[in-house]
């Protein structure tokens, strides 16, 4: 067969011209004579190169974030954390001046004065981005590295498997949250969840990791069979999570509850303890050698309300992961005000991080809706401020997210205004704000993050992406901490 390159070129050029011509024709007339499922970019889109420009910004930022790492494998071992000087300024974290110094000062004050004698806690609230200890575990490791502390922090009595350790709960636990499987008594714990055990197996909608639920409260199916006389939670963790104290946060206990601790490696019971009756909220702390494969067993005639267990070293800093999939934060308003105060006090929580927004981004298309969410978030931040005026709050705005359309992906157009609304609410409430959206590179940066396998277009981060975000977050906090320490030294 004879080659005819010139003819082939002419055919290609004519085809291209016809297709481009169709784009103009379709735009002006709206008539689609080519099949509807064959999509064409409009001429405006064809000539729009803004995506490439935005990606260049994200590219440049990512190079910076990655260049500070020793290697991909040791990304969390970034060494320059301790070298941050007081003159370094934050590009994406706003730490506003409030009545008594800056928004984060109370947390930094606790770091300076309490970390050697007790555990200073950080509550990390969020949605599926954080579910199963994601991202929080890296923040935790960084804080342990710099300020001391150990253990895995908050342990729910029943939840999805975490990424940082192995946990298995007996089948008779029920979990109620401010969002899924609500409790009729609205008696939620600090995490937004409450757990109770039953004498029989409990099946709940999220047991099979699906996202269905019933419209009625306290919906769990109790099935028959051999009754349980106790309920347990087993954990297996790495040596980096060695601990020496276990605290149990619980309440509304009409009678005592026996707690047995087992070393799963040998099967031996290593300690027995008793939770006293408690009308409101109590925290029971026990010293326990660091068994890395441990089972905690509870036995009582009537289950108390359990809000969680905490595995700590008794000093340093701890990061607790309080995540609920699909949640946007508003449900935390259901936590009883007085009990929230008690729980923040008992746990010695000094910094609250709210990382929400991704679940509402696709549904906001107006300035009015932005105002609506700003108002809701302001109320939430003020609830925590009112519950404990001396805590610091850091709000992390929604990150970049994309939707598909016109044959490609692009950011949700209202994202800049949504994050501005979150920022307005945070600053109005005297909270610090970390601008995740611009830290990523702004509009369409998610495309670059996705190309580099650091995220997916819906805004969820890969493990490596989580490490970058967590590193940058901790570094931003450390910049502010160093400024605070420098100011304290100058006062002397």
């Amino acid at each position: 067969m004879r080659n005819k390159p010139f003819e082939v070129l002419i055919i290609i050029l004519i085809s291209e011209l016809l297709l481009v011509g169709y784009s103009f024709y379709y735009k002006s007339t709206g008539t689609a004579f080519i099949k509807e499922n064959v999509r064409f970019l409009s001429p405006d889109k064809l000539a729009d190169f803004s995506l490439k420009d935005a990606n260049k910004n994200a590219d440049s930022l990512l190079k910076n974030y990655l260049s500070n790492t020793l290697s991909d494998d040791k990304i969390i071992k970034r060494t320059n954390l301790s070298k941050i000087g007081p003159k370094k300024q934050n590009a994406f974290l706003v730490n506003p001046v409030t009545e008594n110094g800056s928004a984060l000062d109370n947390f930094f004050k606790s770091l300076l004065h309490q970390k050697d004698s007790t555990t200073v806690r950080i509550a990390h609230y969020g949605d599926s981005q954080l579910e199963g200890d994601r991202m929080s575990y890296i923040v935790r490791e960084k804080f342990h590295e710099k300020f001391g502390g150990s253990g895995i922090g908050y342990v729910p009595l029943k939840d999805l498997s975490p990424v940082s350790y192995v946990r298995k709960s007996s089948g008779n636990w029920a979990k109620y949250t401010v969002f899924h499987d609500r409790s009729s008594k609205n008696d939620y714990g600090i995490s937004g969840a409450v757990f109770r055990f039953s004498k029989f197996s409990v099946h709940q909608s999220d047991d099979a990791d699906n996202d269905t639920s019933s419209s009625k409260k306290d919906t769990h199916q109790i099935t028959g069979g051999k009754p349980f006389y106790n309920a347990s939670v087993s954990m297996k963790m790495g040596s980096q999570y060695a601990y020496n104290s276990v605290s149990i946060l619980y309440g509304h206990a009409t009678d005592k509850c026996i707690v047995n601790y087992y070393d799963n490696a040998s099967g031996e019971r290593v300690k027995t303890d008793t939770l006293a009756a408690c009308t409101k909220v109590c925290m029971h702390k026990t010293q326990l050698g660091g068994y890395l494969n441990v089972k905690v067993e509870f036995a009582a005639d009537n289950s108390p309300d359990f809000y969680g267990m905490y595995f700590d070293s008794g000093k340093g800093v701890q990061v607790d992961n309080y995540a609920i999939r699909g949640h946007s934060g508003d449900g935390l308003m259901m936590i009883n005000d007085d009990e929230l105060t008690q729980m923040l006090d008992l746990s010695n929580t000094k910094l609250v991080i709210f990382q929400y927004g991704a679940n509402v981004v696709p549904y906001i298309h107006s300035d009015e809706a932005c105002e609506w969410i700003s108002g809701i978030y302001y109320k939430l931040f003020m609830k925590f401020k009112k519950a404990k005026p001396d805590i610091s709050i850091l709000v992390i705005g929604a990150g970049d997210m994309a939707k598909g359309g016109e044959g490609s992906y692009s950011s949700y157009p209202w994202l800049p205004k949504i994050t501005e609304a979150q920022k307005r609410a945070a600053l109005k409430a005297g909270c610090a704000y970390w601008d995740l959206f611009n830290m990523m590179g702004g509009l369409n940066s998610i495309i670059t993050w996705t190309d580099k396998k650091l995220a997916v277009t819906n805004g969820h981060f890969s493990e490596k992406g989580q490490k970058i975000i967590a590193n940058e977050l901790v570094e931003a906090l450390m910049v502010e901490y160093n400024i605070y320490v420098h100011k304290q030294r100058m006062k002397k």
């Binding site: 899924h180 019933s214 409260k217 699909g326 946007s328 809706a369």
Partner: protein
């Protein structure tokens, strides 16, 4: 559009948004009766309702709604215009 048809289509929106086919709305249904319905998921519900009926709500209308009955009356009024 008839009130019953509005109710039926709105019920489907509820089932889709809250991922629960067992939801049966009544005029008295409120956020307390439905799992996952809070102020922020309310926005998702509104967005889906706007798409379903081809209407738009204003912020003050959203704030004024106390139950599904108010919601349906608002939809009926908008569709009648």
């Amino acid at each position: 559009m008839q009130y019953d048809e509005i109710k039926s289509r709105l019920n489907k929106v509820f089932c889709t948004v809250f991922k629960d086919n067992s939801i049966v709305i009544t005029e008295e249904t409120t956020a307390n009766d439905i799992e996952k319905w809070d102020s922020l998921t309310h926005l998702i519900l509104i967005s889906a309702t706007e798409t379903e009926f081809g209407i738009k709500f204003k912020l003050k209308e959203l704030i004024a709604m106390k139950n599904v009955g108010d919601f349906m009356k608002s939809i009926e009024t908008k569709l009648a215009v």
